[in-house]
Amino acid sequence: MEIKWYLFLSIALFCIGMIGALTRRNSIIVFMCIELMLNSVNLLLIAFSKMHMATVNAFGTSMATSAQIFVFFIMIVAAAEVTVGLAIIVMMYRNTHSIDINFLNRLKN
């Protein structure tokens, strides 16, 4: 399959995620949208790594490996972020009985 289809899919996923993050007020959905964006990037990275499988980098190994390592990084960071983020959302719900992100604008003024 040509690489452009992967690109289209990944751009579509990223845009969906971004629009969701911008428009929805439910923090869990915003959260999910952020995950979607991260994963669309992962998809892109994997696609390119497959494409460059044969290219050799400065160390004499395949270029693909670095992209794949990057993907793992992103997954780990995302996982860490989820734990913190979900904890915040839980605390927020406990205190305000709402998970509306616009509810937390107390810093204003």
Partner: protein, 641 residues
């Protein structure tokens, strides 16, 4: 070497006196302050005498004593150095000798001051003498400039000594500002010297074997003319010549002994000293010498004219000083340097005597300075009267008193150079005789015109006041004998011989024009007869003076108002300057600069109030802004490649 190695003590002692009196003015007793104040000057005087003896020995050569590096930048090295030669040693004697007498006189004259005022007075007085000594001892123009500024500062402090009266402060400020105008010229002259010759040491410049200036033979080169003119501007300010003379009459606001000190021993002679010191430089610039001669003559005649109509005893003397300084500059201008220095010396004697005598009169009159309200004091104040009389004869130039010899030397040199200068100078001398005898007659002759109270109060001053008067009177009477003209006694001009090494090189440059002896004698006789006639006439005219209501002629009024010079200066310089300052203050500063500063503040305030609205607290809007920002970065990235 003997005495000369202790030369540093001469200025150091007054400095120590200044510190002790200045710091201890609240704790030391008055008599102790007076003792320290006069004592240090007396010690300086003793050392000066020793130095004078050492200098006048056969085979003395100019000594240059370096103490430490003062300024050392790149190629320029200005050491802190003293130079001792005949001119210096003579000035040392005048400054410390006359200064000492004035100090002694002050101990009694200032008795009524408060204790701290007394200490302050003597510390300033000592600082004044210190500055002047530094000025004449300095071995380069920078040290001279330090002393130069020092005397300016001290004159400011002492003229405004009674600072509780605004008038005195104004006079002090005027003296200071006028001096500053001159100082700018002097400083520029020094800079120019440095940039064209790379040194300002007298030793390097005027050394008789390999001095930089001494080896120049070009006459009137533009740089030298400019330097000498700039230095002369400084001399004009310090020595009160046209156009910067107006501060000196106002300087009368200070205590009378201070006036004596300013006029006789220190301060105003600085300009003469500076030009005499730079005589080689000036001799190379005949144009400047002409300017000096003309300005000196003009000052002599204008100030003498103003003096004949003044009624304040100290103002008359002040204008007389301006006029006598004019003679000294005339002498310098026609190349008769030693005659000018001679006149400085005799003038120091009789002018100090006149001022101290005037102080004694003012003291007796309880602060009255208007001579139209005096009269008949001669009977009550014998010593003051006689000494004042001697001073009058001396300043008028009646032989054999000191003023005759020095003035005659200057005038005959002027005649040799240009008879016109001589005639104007002689006119000034006649005016001098007139106003001095007018002053004498109004003060000491006739009937008393003051109040009853004052009449009872009038008394001869005590010994600390009269003894300096007597000493100065003796000096004023016989001081001229060191410079008897060749006409009378062969090799009679001892002073001229003494100073000749200093002016030797100048004498080579300026071909000395000798007046034939016969002419000189005729001139002398004519001038003496004229002067005596004028004196007698003035004495007769004012002996029985009664305050009348006679109408003043227009010219008389103009003289009385000092030719409106102060008013003219006020109109053409002070007022426009004030207007300009007000304009700068109101328009440029308050509106322009303040507007910019305040405007920046207001702008930032307004801008931040608007920007604050972006911080809405809505998470969604933050994310949106973030996305927009990133998109912008991408777009920029795309288009800049």
């Amino acid at each position: 070497m003997d005495a000369i190695q202790f030369i540093y003590l001469v200025p150091l002692l007054p400095l120590v006196g200044f510190l002790i009196n200045g710091l201890g003015r609240k704790t030391l007793s008055k008599s102790l302050i007076g003792l320290i104040g006069s004592g240090v000057i007396f010690l300086s005087f003793c050392i000066s005498v020793l130095i004078f003896i050492a200098v006048s020995k056969e085979g003395f050569t100019t000594q240059d004593i370096q103490y430490f590096d003062f300024i050392n930048v790149g190629k320029l090295n200005i050491p802190f150095e003293f130079q001792v030669d005949q001119l210096t040693s003579l000035f040392l004697l005048i400054i410390t000798g006359v200064g000492f007498l004035i100090h002694v006189y002050s101990t009694s004259y200032m008795k009524e001051e408060t204790q701290s005022g007394y200490g302050r007075y003597f510390s300033y007085l000592n600082l004044f003498v210190f500055s002047m000594l530094l000025l004449v001892l300095g071995g380069n123009y920078l040290i001279m400039f330090m002393g130069w500024e020092g005397v300016g500062l001290c004159s400011y402090l002492l003229i405004g000594f009674w600072f509780k009266e605004q008038e005195n402060n104004n006079a002090a400020k005027k003296a200071f500002v006028m001096n500053r105008i001159g100082d700018v010229g002097f400083l520029l002259g020094i800079f120019w010297l440095i940039s064209s010759f790379g040194t300002i040491s007298y030793h390097d410049l005027y050394n008789s074997s390999n001095g930089i200036i001494t080896s120049i033979s070009a006459i009137n080169s533009p740089a030298i003319v400019a330097i000498t003119l700039l230095l002369f501007v400084g001399a004009c300010g310090k020595s009160a010549q046209i156009p910067l003379y107006t501060w000196l009459p106002d300087a009368m606001a200070g205590p009378t002994p201070v006036s004596a000190l300013i006029h006789a021993a220190t301060m105003v002679t600085a300009g003469i000293y500076m030009i005499a010191r730079s005589n080689i430089l000036y001799s190379l610039a005949p144009t400047t010498l002409d300017v000096i001669a003309v300005i000196g003559t003009l000052t002599a005649i204008v100030a003498a004219t103003i003096a004949i109509k003044q009624n304040d005893i100290k103002k008359v003397l002040a204008y007389s000083t301006v006029s006598q300084l004019g003679y000294m500059f005339l002498g310098l201008g026609v190349g008769a340097y030693s005659a000018a220095v001679f006149h400085v010396m005799t003038h120091a004697f009789f002018k100090a005597l006149l001022f101290l005598g005037a102080g004694s009169v003012i003291h007796a009159m309880g602060g009255e300075q208007d001579i139209t309200k005096m009269g008949g004091l001669g009977k009550k104040m014998r010593v003051t009267y006689i000494t004042f009389f001697i001073a009058c004869i001396a300043i008028s130039g009646i032989p054999p008193f000191s003023g005759f010899f020095s003035k005659d030397e200057i005038l005959s040199a002027a005649y040799a150079s240009n008879p016109l200068l001589y005639y104007i100078g002689l006119g000034g001398a006649l005016l001098t005789a007139f106003y001095m005898f007018r002053l004498l007659a109004l003060t000491f002759a006739g009937k008393f015109r003051g109040t009853e109270d004052q009449l009872h109060h009038v008394h001869e001053s005590n010994a600390t006041i009269t003894i300096p008067l007597v000493i100065l009177a003796v000096l004023a009477a016989v001081g001229g004998l060191v410079g008897i003209p060749e006409v009378f006694v062969k090799n009679g001009n001892k002073l001229n011989d003494f100073l000749s090494p200093v002016f030797a090189h100048s004498a080579q440059i300026i071909a000395s024009q000798e007046v034939p002896h016969q002419t000189e004698i005729i001139l002398m006789i004519v001038s003496v007869i004229l002067i005596i006639t004028t004196s007698v006439w003035a004495w007769k005219k004012y002996k029985e003076y009664q305050p009348g209501t006679g109408e003043e002629s227009v010219f008389g009024k103009a003289i009385k108002n000092k030719f409106y010079v102060d008013e003219v200066y006020d109109r053409i310089i002070v007022k426009p300057l004030n207007a300009l300052s007000r304009l700068l203050d109101n328009v440029i500063d308050k509106k322009g600069i303040d507007g910019i500063v305040n405007g920046v503040g207001r702008g930032v305030n307004y801008g931040s109030r608007q920007l604050r609205l972006l911080q809405s607290g809505q998470v969604g809007s933050y994310i949106l802004l973030m996305v927009i920002g990133m998109l912008l970065l991408f777009i920029i990235q795309l288009f800049t490649k």
